[in-house]
Subunit: 242 residues, 2 copies
């Protein structure tokens, strides 16, 4: 018998933001594994289900546990918030299960770029770069070069993991790089706790963003040269003739 | 009374790939407006609903119709496939309704980058650029510069609208630009008719991709310097120690 693992993106966190497919897979599996913060978002939607939680930086251990349970015959789902394929568990799960007789099926979800953009208006309808400011797995020099290339290409930029206690000044450094190419009045936005309790939406400018102190629950949006503030909404016109 | 328009991302096209929120909004609205190809994907899920379809390049007219119906008191939903905020109708809808007493609510969906990546494996778990090769609204020189910047930054690249009859050689030109920075054996992928009848998934290399003739139903993925082919799946390792 071929074994199977589901890697499921749950969207922002409510049942409403999950796809029907994600919900059905989670309903039907033997066990749901994930980082405890995300499991706590969905636990009450699946009463009676076995949940296994691990801490934030335990990604490899989590995937090994999922692999071992699958090899023992369990149908296991491992969850990521947002989309499991965008800064989520889909990659490391494939790496950990490489060479095993296991089918891995990734169930896509609504990523923070999409969910946050929807709240801000429509900043991402043009070409966009997604960049994580976390240097846990990527050296800062590489991140800095990507920020420079993204701004040089006049991309809209969406920043994941814009800050944490250990890298309090990364957002300021990132804005300084983008300011080499874009003016300080470029429209920008911050969305915090997307789709969850305490959701906050802020429209501001790149110059103002530079001075903000954010936490890891934020996603940041920086417009391209065309992005406008239309009645408090962040909108990037694509060039239609109105 | 404040008027309201919903701009709804329906995901790849099946009910399974839609969020619960999108389904509820479409169930509850008076009228669903969209490009006929997308309306035909969802029409049978909402029996008895009024649908209004327009042709592919009629985006501005479509949004004006939605605005006018909303001002007359109807609750109107305008749909995009994938996510309405990523190359979808959210931007032009905000522009057309600017200055009117209308609340526009964007309901995010699963975009082709997420849905296609899930089928290919996990190419997008690292920093990613989304670039459309359509020059209907963006001059080719700007697209070419973005391709160059994206490859120079070692981003994973996801191409929307990789080809059409009028721009048969754009994918080749795009690959040539990326080949200045990445070797020809860089893993790449093509997904066609994502989540729909006739779905096709192809894993190949950047050099092979350059010679492909694609249509507008395809989404293309090109790895960064770290992307690997693991057992036929496209995976971009993020740098976890295994």
């Amino acid at each position: 018998m071929k074994h199977r693992i589901y890697v499921v993106g749950i969207g922002p966190g409510s049942l409403q933001g999950m796809t029907l497919q994600a919900r059905e897979i989670l309903d039907g599996c033997d066990c749901i594994v994930g980082y405890d913060t995300y499991i706590n978002l969905i636990r009450h939607y699946f009463p009676g289900k076995e949940f296994v939680t691990t801490g934030m930086t335990k990604e490899v251990e989590r995937c090994r546990m999922v692999r071992d349970r699958a090899l023992q015959g369990q149908t296991v789902a491992i969850v990521s918030s947002g989309d499991a394929g965008i800064y989520g568990m889909a990659g490391i799960m494939h790496e950990v299960a490489a060479g095993e007789d296991i089918d891995i099926e990734v169930i896509p979800g609504v990523t923070a770029a999409s969910a946050g953009a929807a709240l801000l208006g429509a900043p991402l309808v043009a070409d966009t770069c997604l960049i994580s400011l976390s240097d846990l797995l990527t050296p800062w020099e590489k991140i800095a070069n990507r920020l420079d290339c993204a701004a040089a290409g006049d991309f809209v930029i969406c920043l994941y993991n814009p800050a944490s206690k250990k890298r309090a000044d990364y957002l300021e450094k990132a804005c300084d790089i983008i300011l080499r190419h874009q003016p300080a009045d470029t429209p920008a936005g911050i969305v915090r706790n997307i789709g969850r309790e305490g959701q906050e939406v802020t429209v501001l400018t790149l110059g103002e963003l530079r001075k903000m102190h954010l936490d890891m629950f934020c996603t940041v949006f920086i417009g391209n040269s065309q992005t406008k503030n239309i009645g408090g909404k962040l909108v990037t016109p694509r060039g239609y003739h109105l």
